[in-house]
């Protein structure tokens, strides 16, 4: 049995026919070609596949695509707007919070959701919000630095969250 599914991803609506056992991650990566969301463990234990579902970060590997039908989905590809990076993305670039980059999409999704909900989270809230996103490269130190910088930047929207000039376009 296949199901008709309507997915709104990064503001675009897609009508798809999918088997019900397929996950949102499968459909994003295979059917929509949105490979920014990563398959790290396929069991909801690493966070590399995190996407926003109606504004909340969830593991897309544990969400059946049929269950996401009719809901708003944002993936890492949808974070940058108007050609500019999201302040959280900029902070990750600037602080060296990105190494191999495989956990990065999920991290960014989690952090943007946190800051949307709580513009000034405490240290404990930052640690807890990211506690479901595994990173094997950075030891989290620079990731946490980047989050703190993004918070400062977003608190003062007048300031350009620009990245150091040496970054290549």
């Amino acid at each position: 049995m296949k199901e008709l599914v309507q997915l709104s991803v990064n503001g675009q609506t897609h009508d798809l026919v999918v088997r019900p056992e397929r996950t949102l991650l499968d459909v994003l990566r295979e059917d929509l070609g949105l490979t920014g969301s990563k398959r790290g463990c396929d069991l909801g234990a690493c966070g590399a596949c995190a996407v926003l579902l109606d504004g909340r970060p969830v593991s897309s590997c544990l969400t059946l695509a049929v269950e996401a039908s009719g809901h708003e989905i944002v993936t890492v590809e949808g974070l940058a707007r108007g050609g500019g990076l999201h302040p959280v993305q900029e902070a990750f670039v600037e602080h060296g919070a990105v190494q191999c980059g495989f956990c990065t999409p999920g991290m960014l999704i989690t952090v943007t959701a946190l800051l949307d909900e709580r513009p000034e989270p405490t240290e404990a809230e930052i640690l807890e919000a990211l506690s479901g996103n595994l990173c094997r490269c950075t030891g989290y130190v620079k990731v946490l630095d980047a989050v703190r910088t993004a918070i400062r930047r977003m608190r003062q929207p007048g300031l350009p969250g620009s990245v150091a000039p040496e970054v290549r376009a």
Partner: protein
């Protein structure tokens, strides 16, 4: 992901959902957040061929204070909703503590309170992939004959590892089940069979719709402590909930303590409860009491009954009682 083909149903009323579950019997399973069910589907251990989604059914997500000052929580509310609810924090802080420690933030945004209460039991064999399990004949829970964990008695001893039920049991919460014969409410404690194979003492066609937490008695407090290797993602190796009411004189009037992660159901510690009743509030880390608590566990642990886990359970029980009592001491009438 296995090649198993499944059928998906998205009823828009509870009655339709119950009817679908009844129609397909053992071949059907209700789908809420999916954080436990989807891995089971991927591992090929889910018997169900029909998934009955609860997502399109309106309601059953609200968290409200009842007329008598208790809590009514829709079972489809996510664990994140429960964790961040100021109402839950006010009436039953331990429930918020348990909810916020379940899984990881990503899982709590999908996983529901009902799903956590109805969590399947787990073991090292059953929760593996089909390819992994091919190295050994299936266990009882996977449709075979044996239990690898308990080979002597050969009875499935898969562990119950959800965080919230221990709290719900200590506060005497009741669960509302909607089934073919209508609604019924049972104490959460009575939801569990104690069997690893079929941990829930309810019919497969019944859907958990609401959790009712009674108004806390005066001068009472609750606490939940979790022991796991990491402070997120992991299931509890041990979870201890305590609900304590104090007498006017400041001694313990009643204590209810429940443990998760030791047996195929969350379980009370009646011997410890009795020992505490009428006595003084213990100091955190009271080692004598902790030893008593450890002894009171008796033969509670079905598996991994290493001495340190029993000792830890004793320490945690005392700490949980102390924390709950501290809240009770700060009790103010509303």
């Amino acid at each position: 992901m296995t090649a198993t083909r499944i059928e998906y149903h998205a009823p828009s009323t509870l009655a339709q959902a119950v009817a679908l579950l009844e129609e397909h019997g053992h071949a059907a399973a209700p789908l809420a957040g999916g954080t436990d069910l989807v891995p089971a589907l991927k591992h090929g251990v889910l018997q169900a061929r029909h998934l009955v989604s609860l997502a399109r059914i309106p309601g059953h997500r609200e968290i409200a204070i009842t007329a008598d000052g208790g809590l009514s929580i829709g079972a489809f509310a996510t664990l994140a909703d429960v964790a961040r609810s100021p109402l839950v924090g006010a009436v039953c802080p331990a429930l918020a503590e348990a909810a916020v420690q379940a899984g990881s933030p990503l899982l709590r945004n999908r996983g529901t309170l009902g799903g956590n209460v109805c969590l399947d039991t787990r073991c090292w064999y059953y929760n593996q992939t089909e390819a992994w399990r091919a190295s050994r004949p299936p266990c009882q829970k996977a449709g075979g004959q044996q239990c690898y964990v308990n080979q002597k008695q050969n009875v499935c001893v898969a562990l119950f590892s959800a965080d919230t039920p221990a709290v719900l049991i200590t506060v005497g919460a009741r669960a509302t089940l909607a089934g073919p014969a209508g609604e019924r409410a049972v104490p959460v404690e009575a939801l569990y069979s104690g069997e690893g194979l079929q941990p829930l003492a309810k019919s497969g066609a019944e859907i958990l719709t609401e959790i009712a937490v009674p108004a806390p008695p005066a001068r009472s407090g609750t606490a939940y402590l979790k022991h796991s290797p990491r402070d997120s993602i992991d299931f509890p190796l041990l979870g201890i909930a305590a609900a304590v009411a104090l007498s006017g004189g400041g001694t313990i009037a009643s204590a209810r303590i429940a443990l998760t992660g030791a047996r195929s159901a969350p379980c009370r510690l009646p011997e410890l409860e009795a020992a505490l009743a009428g006595g003084p509030v213990p100091a955190a880390g009271d080692r004598e009491l902790a030893q008593l608590a450890t002894r009171s566990l008796g033969a509670l642990f079905l598996t991994d009954a290493v001495p340190h886990k029993r000792r830890l359970a004793g320490l945690m029980a005392v700490d949980a009682v102390e924390r709950a009592a501290a809240l009770a001491q700060g009790w103010r009438t509303r």
